[in-house]
């Protein structure tokens, strides 16, 4: 049996959907402003 056959598959997070909801529910401002905040935060997280 291939090892992968025994691995438990974990559902990947749909990050695009997560961020869409984040923009709608958490952030304030215009769509353009929200997009800029999200992108800036993504870069910050990628660097940390």
């Amino acid at each position: 049996m291939d090892k992968n056959d025994t691995d438990v598959k974990v559902q990947a997070i749909d990050m695009e959907a997560l961020l869409k909801r984040f923009q709608e529910e958490v952030l304030e401002g215009t769509d353009e402003e929200k997009k800029a905040i999200v992108e800036s935060f993504l870069i910050t997280l990628a660097k940390n």
């Binding site: 997070i13 990050m15 997560l18 993504l42 660097k47 940390n48």
Partner: protein, 388 residues
């Protein structure tokens, strides 16, 4: 003299050095970082994570006791409080400050450069963040959302405190010079956060075009979306640029992979009157000739870790304000007399004509790195011997 008057006196001294005017004396702007945290008995965990506001106490005490003219930056903009909410992250805090965690920076695969080229932000969102943070790596979507939201709240709280704290520190008389934002070299971004040192060097050899295409896509994003947020800052304040890979490259690789992005970004800053404090890791001596292609300007501050300072000043004094000259090893291991002699020689070599600021050659991270009496001796020597 109250804090604001001392601030103005110090900022005037630094600004004159940047503008190649002669200040009353050579300024001293230091990178004491974690050394100050330990010297005043605070915990690194509190400074970097739980209580960012203690920076006000630390720098307030330091400017009183040591009387330097300012700090290069305050080194407290790493949002560990936020990344912990997501599980993981590149950095952790130990007794001796921030260190790279066991999680390697090597989280991008060699065949993924085209993903950066095609959609840099989408690549970070869909590929890198789920690999870096356990709470985004899979499982329950609601848990991931709540973690992301909590991380953002912590980030807002932490950075909000840092901005407020820096204003308080300056009111107390301590200019925080070059930390208003961070410039990023795309090749350093790949090395520091995606492929690690060995990965990027192998990639540059095996798939140079793929690396360059990705780097160009990142550079375009930084120039069009990130750097326009940086406006000219008052009083010589500006942004920070830690540069890492350059001294480890062969000259022909430097010219191909590093120099074009470096030059474009520096010219961007010069043209927009944005001061940029560059931490030039390692020795840049092989590139002194190439750096002469930059236009004469007053906006670049070169904090040089190694290399010939006198030669740098002679060759590049119209391109960079030279900042540095005091090795941390001198502060840690030499006598006070040797520190004074080193400082006098440094001033003789580099102070003529302005455009020079005394600083440590690299960040002083822990209390063991430097003796307090040696730091005081260097500052005192500059005050006495560094008069114009």
């Amino acid at each position: 003299m109250d804090g604001m008057l001392r601030y103005e006196e110090r900022i005037r001294r630094i600004s004159k050095a940047l503008n190649r005017d002669k200040p009353d004396r050579v300024p001293v702007v230091l990178k004491l970082y974690g050394w100050l945290v330990q010297y005043y008995g605070y915990s690194m965990e509190d400074f970097y994570v739980n209580k960012p506001q203690i920076a006000v106490e630390i720098y307030g005490k330091a400017i009183e006791e040591f009387g330097f003219d300012g700090v290069f930056n305050a080194n407290n903009v790493t949002p560990i409080a936020a990344t912990r909410e997501l599980g993981g992250g590149l950095y952790q805090v130990g007794e001796d400050g921030i260190q790279v965690s066991n999680l390697s920076a090597h989280i991008m695969k060699a065949d993924e450069y085209a993903l950066i080229r095609d959609d840099f932000i989408g690549f970070l969102r869909d590929v890198i963040l789920p690999r870096r943070f356990s709470k985004l790596s899979g499982g329950n979507a609601e848990t991931a959302f709540q973690a992301f939201k909590a991380a953002y709240e912590k980030y807002k709280w932490y950075m909000g405190s840092v901005v407020q704290d820096h204003a308080e520190i300056e009111k107390a008389g301590c200019p925080i010079m070059w930390g208003k934002g961070v410039l990023i070299h795309p090749i350093d971004f790949i090395m520091d956060y995606l492929r690690d040192f060995s990965g990027v060097l192998v990639d540059m050899r095996r798939q140079p075009e793929a690396v360059l295409e990705a780097a160009h896509a990142m550079q375009r994003y930084f120039i069009e979306k990130v750097y326009p947020k940086f406006q000219p800052f008052a009083d010589g304040h500006g942004v920070f640029w830690p540069m890492h890979l350059a001294p480890y490259l062969k000259p022909k690789d430097f010219e191909r992979f590093y120099w074009p992005f470096l030059k474009e970004t520096l010219e961007y800053c010069i043209n927009r009157k944005i001061y940029a404090g560059l931490f030039m890791e390692g020795s840049w001596e092989p590139y002194y000739d190439l750096l002469q292609d930059l236009p004469d300007n007053n906006y670049l501050i070169g904090s040089l870790e190694k290399g010939d300072y006198k030669k740098f000043k002679e060759k590049l004094g119209k391109k960079f304000t030279l900042c540095g000259g005091v090795p941390v090893s001198v502060l840690g291991y030499k006598t006070k007399e040797e520190c004074a002699a080193h400082t006098r020689q440094l001033i003789d070599d580099c102070a003529q004509g302005g455009g020079f600021i005394v600083d440590t050659d690299m960040a002083v991270l822990t209390l063991n790195d430097a003796k307090p009496e040696n730091i005081k001796t260097v500052i005192q020597t500059v005050m006495e011997y560094g008069q114009y």
